[in-house]
């Protein structure tokens, strides 16, 4: 297809090549390391679940035990396989014994890596089969009851109480939502464990727990069957428990997951080594499970200027694309993020937003791009806010976005009320229908504002990527090139949970998941 923006394919290719080199370089680091959260994820996939009397999750207790015993470098898969051979028990039973203090995994006689691996493989296969069954169920829904047209209408619920969330989600589903995202309680990203069970107390959101996932999934399936449209469920595979939550999402059939190491580094001050290693395993799981990943580039524009820093969004999208490819995520599951965040007082701001949105679509044509609504310049004037959201919807349909996070007229006031969601859906449906094929119909003036803007942004992004390629990603972040935030390589939260792998280390899931579904 001819570029409407007259973008130079050679520059796109050069940017992509630089991003690939950046990701390659990082991949070497990633593959040498593991993390406590990576190891806990393996346990969860092996079926270890539950908490002790002070609500510590079993996966944490077991991984902390091998970490304290100096065994983290070998990986929990080895220790669990070894313990299974020596005790004849299941991973869950072994974990319970570790928790009660009746078993020390590090004090058992040890078998060879090969034996441990062979012991654990049937359980690994069982976990993969379970996930595949969920993917099949999704495919089955999509081929029977079907789905909404793109852009999918993506709505958030955030009451803090999973049961209240379910009610809000049910209403949104009936009104036309295609995706329900359950916002997490503020602060969960910094917990180094995943809370357990159904929860009813959260601030500005609801805890991501496996039980909460299950409760919401069940309701969305019911509503979806009733309205004849599959409703996707979204949550956050981010923060210190990134891969664990990805595993929980895979098991409970989530369809969309936020997943972006750069976001955690910049906006949650999570250690970059930790989260890049965590991101890799979580993306492998996400890719394998048919989940659409969402990246967090939109956030750069809430702290930096949306016009001046547009190229950082594109540069990050290029890198996220390469990181995702390395983890086996197909382009069709890459919900790269961007946003409509320019100051509404900008003359021709709409043209610039349109230009950038079409640019993203042209550069990542197969990706279901995730488009974020105005937030920074929402004021409390709900009437103006509704118009800002309308312009955002107009750009989305024009540029062919994949996932449309609907803006709320009450943004900047409160988490959405029931009627806010209805009004947002009505707004989007009106515009998407009324201007459905505008993108096919309209071309742009050669060297006009719209073409030039996209070319400029692409050029700057390519330049930035080449600099990062030279400098390395760690050092670029240390210098504050993204979102104007500086983060040291050895700073932030979670560094203590990173370990070098030893020669006998193995993670059975990564190999099999990258090998494909069969």
């Amino acid at each position: 297809m001819k570029s409407k923006l007259n973008l130079d394919p050679a520059i796109i290719a050069s940017a992509r090549n630089a991003a690939n080199n950046i990701a390659e370089d990082m991949q070497i680091f990633i593959e040498r390391h593991t993390t406590v959260s990576t190891e806990r994820t393996i346990l969860r996939l092996l079926g270890v679940d539950g908490i002790d009397e002070v609500e510590r999750p079993l996966p944490n207790i077991v991984v902390d035990a091998i970490n304290e015993g100096g065994g983290l470098s070998r990986g929990i898969a080895y220790w669990m396989g070894n313990a299974m051979i020596k005790t004849g028990l299941s991973p869950q039973q072994i974990s319970e014994k570790v928790s009660s203090g009746d078993l020390d995994l590090m004090k058992l006689e040890t078998v060879s890596t090969k034996e441990a691996e062979a012991q654990i493989m049937p359980l690994v296969q069982e976990a993969l089969d379970k996930i595949k069954l969920q993917s099949k169920k999704r495919d089955n829904y999509l081929s029977t009851i079907g789905e909404g047209k793109k852009p999918y209408l993506y709505l958030i619920v955030a009451t803090g109480n999973i049961y209240e969330d379910v009610l809000q989600a049910e209403a949104a589903g009936r009104q036309g939502a295609d995706i329900i995202a359950v916002i997490r309680t503020t602060g969960q990203s910094l917990l180094d464990y995943v809370p357990y069970g159904p929860t009813t107390e959260g601030f500005g959101g609801t805890y991501a727990t496996q039980e909460n996932f299950r409760i919401m999934r069940k309701k969305l399936d019911e509503v979806g069957e009733e309205v004849g449209r599959y409703i996707r469920l979204c949550n956050y595979s981010s923060g210190l428990c990134m891969p664990e939550i990805a595993a929980m999402g895979a098991i409970e059939r989530l369809d969309v997951m936020l997943n972006d190491a750069l976001y955690g580094i910049l906006f949650r001050d999570i250690n970059m080594q930790r989260t890049l290693v965590d991101q890799y395993f979580s993306r492998v799981i996400i890719g394998y499970s048919g989940i659409i990943m969402n990246t967090g580039e939109d956030n750069y524009l809430t702290t930096s200027d949306a016009i001046e820093e547009a190229h950082t969004v594109l540069a990050s999208q290029f890198m996220n694309e390469q990181f995702a490819l390395k983890a086996g995520i197909p382009e069709e599951q890459m919900g790269l993020g961007h946003a409509f965040e320019m100051d509404p007082n900008t003359e021709n701001g709409f043209l610039l937003e349109l230009s950038q949105a079409i640019m993203a679509k042209e550069i990542f044509p197969k990706a279901p791009l995730k488009y974020m609504p105005p937030t920074k310049f929402m004021t409390g004037n709900i009437f103006k806010g509704h118009i800002q959201d309308a312009l955002f919807n107009m750009v989305a349909i024009w540029s062919g976005q994949g996932l449309q996070l609907l803006g709320m007229l009450t943004e900047a006031i409160h988490t959405p009320h029931l009627q806010d969601r209805m009004l947002a859906i009505e707004n989007a449906k009106y515009i998407f229908n009324n201007a459905r094929d505008i993108g096919e119909e309209v071309e742009f003036k050669e060297n006009g504002i719209i073409q030039k803007r996209a070319q400029e942004v692409l050029n700057s992004a390519e330049k930035m990527l080449k600099e990062i390629e030279k400098e390395g990603l760690f050092s670029t972040i240390e210098k504050g090139k993204f979102a104007g935030v500086k983060r040291p390589k050895d700073g932030g939260k979670g560094l203590h949970g990173v370990a070098l792998k030893d020669e006998q280390y193995f993670n059975p899931f990564i190999t099999l998941m990258l090998g494909g579904g069969k």
């Binding site: 209403a171 602060g187 910094l190 601030f203 001050d269 009320h417 009627q419």
Partner: protein
């Protein structure tokens, strides 16, 4: 031709298109199924709220047995505007250059300001707008002010860490941003900061300011802060308050 009715400031009513028509618009949801009875219930409620001639101009089925209404009605109540008093920050706001000049003339050294989004709050939009170089809407942040040393600690900073930093930097002022205020999560957090500062014996040596879209000056004072800033606040508002307060309290 008749004149329009004069305003009686002791009996003020909403204005739609005629003086004292009392017209108000409102919208809300009732947890009852979409029906004629639901609209009637909305009107009954509006009458109880003091609205005459309530009219449901739009109602929508929200899908779970709940109904949304947009309504108009004529307010019967009035307010006596002449008796209204609001607790506000009483200071003439200076612009960036005036603040810089004020520091040069009245403080004669750098003013150190430490800011953070405290507790579990991860939303730095507000503190960034006030403190960072770039600022917001064309109003430069405090970092760019000559004579101000601004240090933004970012998000999810525990109160203890903020206090330690403020003491270490010998700060003249602390800025606390609280954006997440659902279920009043900010209240205990903001109160704890003041308690910590008092325990450390530094409360009186610093100007303590908070801000956020749901923060009012009145609330701030209730919680023991010197000032609170809500929406539509820029760096110069906060800067002016801090430097004048320092001079007023002889903290220079």
């Amino acid at each position: 031709m008749t004149d329009i009715a004069k305003i009686d400031l002791t009996k003020v009513k909403p204005y739609g298109d005629t003086m004292n028509d009392g017209m108000m618009q409102l919208s809300f949801t009732l947890p009852i199924p979409y029906s004629d009875e639901a609209s009637e219930a909305a009107k009954v409620l509006a009458r109880k709220m003091g609205l005459d001639e309530p009219a449901v101009v739009c109602s929508k089925d929200l899908g779970i047995g709940y109904t949304y209404f947009i309504m108009y009605g004529k307010c019967q109540h009035t307010v006596d505007f002449t008796t209204i008093k609001v607790n506000k920050i009483e200071v003439e706001i200076m612009d960036k250059y005036e603040v810089e000049k004020y520091i040069k003339e009245n403080i004669q050294r750098d003013v150190v300001i430490v800011g953070a989004c405290t507790g579990t709050d991860a939303h730095t939009v507000g503190i960034d707008a006030i403190m960072n170089m770039k600022g917001f809407h064309g109003h430069y942040g405090l970092e760019r002010y000559k004579g101000i040393e601004a240090f933004n600690m970012g998000s999810q900073v525990p109160n203890e860490v903020l206090v330690a930093k403020a003491i270490e930097m010998n700060a003249d002022a602390i800025l606390v941003s609280q954006v997440v205020t659902q279920k009043d999560v900010h209240i205990p957090n903001m109160t704890q900061l003041v308690e910590l500062l008092e325990a450390e014996g530094v409360r009186d040596k610093m100007v303590i300011v908070c801000g956020g879209p749901r923060i009012s000056h009145e609330l701030a004072q209730e919680l023991g802060y010197d000032a609170g800033f809500g929406s539509d606040t820029y760096a110069e508002d906060v800067g002016t308050f801090i430097v004048t307060e320092m001079v007023k309290r002889k903290l220079v």
